[in-house]
Symmetry: D2
Subunit: 433 residues, 4 copies
């Protein structure tokens, strides 16, 4: 018989409130100062043992850390927003995120859960039919938006944490909650992985709201199709000159960058599986009457297998260099992010299905769902599996009138309770005392 889970039912207003608060304060990767602080203060109250910032990740393993100037600016803003000084000093220099541990000290499994917390450089829409706007909780920051649902992920993590804290006497084993920074661009997971949190984990669970358009209440136990990916920044350096008087003395970095952007898509579609390439950002030049002497690109390659991604990356590198030669400028390439391919443990399908049978929030558990994005949770999953544990990446259904990364992206808030209830059932199923 399905009984309403009283805990989940009771926490629903809190979930909505958390989600909306985080949605209003989006922060980009490695600049989640305020976000980390807010999460941390909640968990501190609940009694978790916290490892913040430099204690949570291996600093040198981060990819694509923002410039010192930008970090400094964001740290100042966080300070003015009320983030306490000792928290800031733990996070100084873009060391955001935290790990929260609850050890029941009673024999049992070590379960790990990961929640990503960063936002995207997107200007949120102001259409009346966009719920965050019409309900007054849209982003307070220009050109930054939770357009991928990580505000929801944070919320799910806090909901799960509260359950663990309130029910600890009935549980055994150990619980590690990783609130990971900088998932976008594949920049943060490796740094948390390299800190060693996943050495002795028995089962690792993470997942995503949406990704596929599924009814609220539908949960996918596993996913497949995540793409290996590489993230690159490219700087072109040429020579400026007066565009009217001496165009022939310039070496045009803007044209090198534009040539790269238009040419990269001609890398052949690979016959062995899905491939991707995207130049998502291009900034070049300073004024219309000056031959541009500098240009900057942000791009990524992806592949259904590591081999396909390596093919894409190899072609891209040669083409970037050729574009630079084309316009007689210099190119330098920085590698700023990476995700691996990953395989969910199909053994988990049965246990998840059976644990969730008693949830009144879950209508259907799909064995698997196909996806074609990339995820740096791959580093964590591959580490857990290498050490003998099991790992999965789940989906929590919501309708998706707009795609992820769209200015109008939104999800159904009812999906939050579904995800929390799923994790609670896994916790109860695996670690009930």
């Amino acid at each position: 018989m399905l009984l309403k889970n009283n805990f989940t039912e009771s926490i629903k207003p809190q979930l909505k409130s958390w989600r909306r608060a985080f949605h209003q304060q989006p922060e980009l990767g490695f600049m989640e100062y305020y976000t980390t602080y807010k999460i941390g203060k909640e968990l501190e109250k609940l009694g978790f043992k916290l490892y913040v910032g430099q204690d949570a990740l291996k600093s040198e393993s981060r990819y694509g850390v923002p410039s010192k100037e930008l970090l400094q600016e964001k740290e100042s803003e966080a300070y003015f927003q009320g983030v306490e000084g000792d928290w800031l000093s733990h996070m100084h220099g873009g060391n955001t995120g935290l790990v929260a541990i609850w050890d029941t000290e009673s024999l049992g499994k070590h379960l790990a859960f990961r929640f990503d917390i960063d936002a995207l450089p997107i200007q949120e829409t102001e259409h009346e039919d966009h719920l965050p706007f019409s309900q007054g909780f849209s982003s307070s920051k220009r050109n930054v938006m939770h357009a991928c649902g990580h505000d929801g992920h944070i919320t799910i993590g806090l909901g799960l944490a509260r359950y663990i804290a309130e029910n600890a006497r009935n549980l055994n084993g150990k619980f590690t909650l990783l609130f990971q920074p900088a998932e976008e661009g594949g920049r943060g997971a490796k740094a948390m992985t390299d800190k060693g949190w996943l050495q002795d984990v028995d089962a690792f669970y993470t997942g995503h709201l949406g990704l596929r358009d599924l009814e609220v209440g539908t949960v996918a136990a596993t996913t497949k199709g995540f793409l290996a990916s590489s993230k690159l920044n490219v700087h072109f350096n040429g020579e400026s000159s007066h565009a009217g008087m001496k165009p022939e003395d310039g070496r045009n970095a803007l044209l090198a960058a534009a040539t790269t952007a238009t040419q990269l898509y001609s890398i052949p579609r690979h016959s062995e599986g899905a491939s991707r390439v995207n130049v998502g950002k291009l900034d070049a030049g300073s004024g219309r009457n000056i031959i541009a002497d500098r240009a900057y690109l942000e791009l990524e390659t992806r592949g259904e297998t590591g081999e396909i991604n390596q093919f894409m990356l190899g072609e891209a590198k040669r083409m970037i260099q050729a574009s630079a030669n084309m316009h007689n400028v210099e190119a330098s390439i920085d590698f700023v992010g990476e995700t691996e391919g990953m395989d969910c443990d199909r053994e988990l399908i049965d246990s998840i299905s059976s644990h969730c049978e008693t949830s009144s929030f879950i209508k259907e558990v799909l064995p698997s769902a196909a996806i074609s994005g990339s995820e740096d949770a791959s580093f964590m999953m591959n580490k857990v599996q290498a050490n003998g544990g099991l790992a999965t990446y789940m989906l929590f259904g919501t309708s998706l009138p707009y795609n992820h990364h769209h200015p109008s992206f939104d999800f159904e808030e009812d999906a939050l309770a579904v995800a929390v209830d799923t994790y609670i059932h896994l916790v109860k199923g695996e670690n009930t005392r």
Copy 2:
């Protein structure tokens, strides 16, 4: 016999000092708040009648006015730098520049002189062999630089003004000095012209330091070859999407902009004369894993005749639209600047040559020099000539180890006295009582 002009000789240290002060405080077009104020305070002391900002130009005739936010930010900075409130209120909203008049009230010619005062969006070099850097007067502002010599032009204007003020009792006629904002991009001259300053001018003089590599002491009485030009900004609007999961749902504005940039150069070289096209700035997209939904271009076309420029402009407009269609995005084009073709009055060659014969600073007067830039002084010259006056655009020689608009651009400071002395001789030659 050539006698040292005592005035010019005596003012040389002052010229150097002015030039270096302005070089350190470069401001972009229509944001020359501090620059206008500093010029104005000097001229006020000398006794000129001043028309500042909204009194100096026709506000609606300006091209390419910066955004309100940016203007507001720069007005605040100017305020903190000490610009007085009533000056700021005259200049509010990007109405910079000033006109200074000295009327001897004794019968004589009306002579007008124009000096452009804006800087460029270039990051000044930090090489040791760059004099402004090694002597400690390089730009105090990131990505803004006097890289075209307008700091020198301001200085020449102030030097001439002091001469007029100190020698007014020996002069007749009327002197109008136009300190024009926003020459770069052809944005400011039309607004000053439309205010009516050039209705009854008998002779109009303006000019440039450098442009051709000539020895200090060489002066060109006229120039030819200035190109008509059009300045455009283009916005592309597409649709963002997740680059890994749903690339086919995006409409890629970055690719539309890059396609425009790479294609525009294929407009045929015109057989009737020089033509130019340049995309000098391209900003697109927000992050590597998002299909870019917006892009922005700054570009210009030029032609040796108005017809050639119209050909270039017509082709460019069609190609911008085709690039948008190529990637299924929308393009909107703003016209933000314009220069006309112009012809110096060859009658002035003789008068300039003969007036300058007695200058000890001038080694040689060339009748004419060939140029291929563009100048919005064309609006002023064409207006003076339409009203029956004479007009010329002169050059003042300096060696040019680096081109104009190069991060290492510099000129020889000795050229400043040559230019001042030239103008003084013209004033004496034409308007001695």
Copy 3:
């Protein structure tokens, strides 16, 4: 017990001889005059009822028929090669290919087999390690080559035909052998299909040598992954002009074509499945000092589903038009070929496997093999299935040191006997009296 099939063993020298003869006389699609004739004469001797050329296909349903001039030239060549006049008159105007029928007039199934017979516009390699070259049977025609193995397919068809003729007294049912022209480019199958041969077929078998690198003796009972595709020719018409004296009067068709070629690859990779686009041929302009007034492209799109191919095709059409607008020329698009997606009947896996168990030539029957090409056999298969019959597309293993469509492409001739023996076992399995 596996006994050598005496028929197949005995015919091996003949298979090799046929294959080499056809390899030396490759003909492009709808110009297989000599090939059709040679096949037909063999089948005539065996006693098949023949339908040649206009009797074998519906003329109006052909895609991409060559120009009259080219057809005339090839018909003349065929005449000089000895093709008889009445055969030529049946094939006149590019109506090549034939259908051969053997009706046992004893009750049984109607089995159909299809063999494609055309070659490719590729210049065969002259490397010593290329067997056709070293053994002296490489293509006798410049820029035409059997580089896809259809010479082998013809051979397999002839081998099967001989078996049927020699063993007809032991067989029941009806056998239709379709020797199809112009498979490359998806141009011929629809015309044979529309002639009505597949109305009452119980089982349809076709297949390919190679496609995947498999050991000789390996047979795949079914395949999956064939792509729907569209084939397009594009003509651009501009205006010529002297490239030195009046470049601005030209409208450059060459640039429109080159722009199309470089831009088409930027159609996004579709997240729902494999997609392809290729410009395989570009001819433009007449001489270096003339602005090109005409250009010609041959291209194709493909998609794992019909929807994906329609997406590719829609994008391509818009981009072709935009490229024309970019360079102010006119574009006209001709649709010259098409393939559909197709699904093999999995019911055939078991029957094929069991029929083939007794073949000594077959080492292994794979249930299915994944492919990513396109095939106009899709029209035939879809028709058979729509009428209630079963259909499959099989693979016959060979090592592939070079890809299909490569100048060094070759297959192992031992694979011919494997394929013949497979079809014989299917015939015996299904239609033994």
Copy 4:
């Protein structure tokens, strides 16, 4: 008093007849077998001493000689058209053109005249308002056309030759008439120059019908603005592969060529004078479903000075290589033609003007006309001048409703008599006994 020149007046029907005959039989450069023969037979009748083919030019100095196969084919055609065997053997292997000499053996100047004889790869229009078509003398050859007026130049040469032959007893000095092959593409003049014909020439005259739209009867004594130029062929070699099944195994030569074509125009417009670049021909690939393994380009660069052309050429070479690297293919560049800059001797303006005063065909002699094409007559002029002689390149006016190199190009046939009469007056003026 202007008297009708009876010779010129009387020869007008003959001029028209010659012109139309040559117009119908256009031949491309180094394949003017029939043209050379027809010219030679006329001159032989008149009594000129002839040097044909290998005796007229230095074979090794030719640029861009067609393939042996093509030459062989055209020699066969010429043979069938009636060109005699010993003439063909002199011209074998693309050694076309001839030099005709008349030595009066009476002391006087050595005058040389050059006439270019080749046609262009253009398909002549079939519009009713195109005179050659409506009058039934348009090109008899597909894709070959006298679209630059060289049919007229041949005619002028024959007219002058007849005058010299008929009036030789009244003339002194020596006359050299060079009927030069392969002017288009700058391929033939150097070879004639290197044979030594211009060593002791006192005055060299050549010119062109049209180029600028001038009234019939207008003659320009000199021209300026001819561009130095370089002519290049480029071959790209990649690797073919099946476009559907293994696109990633191809190396795409078509894309390398298309990239070159779209990128070359981005070489900056040079501020020191006119520049040009044109890709006039691009052939790539063999079929739509094959990744193209080869591509071929014909292109040219031009510059108002040799330096500017070298700049263009240097940039082009780097960009061709970069395009090859972009798509991982190999590029090889052949230099197949060249023209130099050239300066007409202004001393000739006066002599031409005064000699022509008495011509009733000439309405006006312009001192000079500005042009922006390229001419390999530059090699001859520079050689004459280097040896102390004088040289000029003249224009003979005609209206030009269509540009040179346009399928509808035509000139007014009355211009032929003007040109003949001009040369006759020069001959009489300089070398009357």
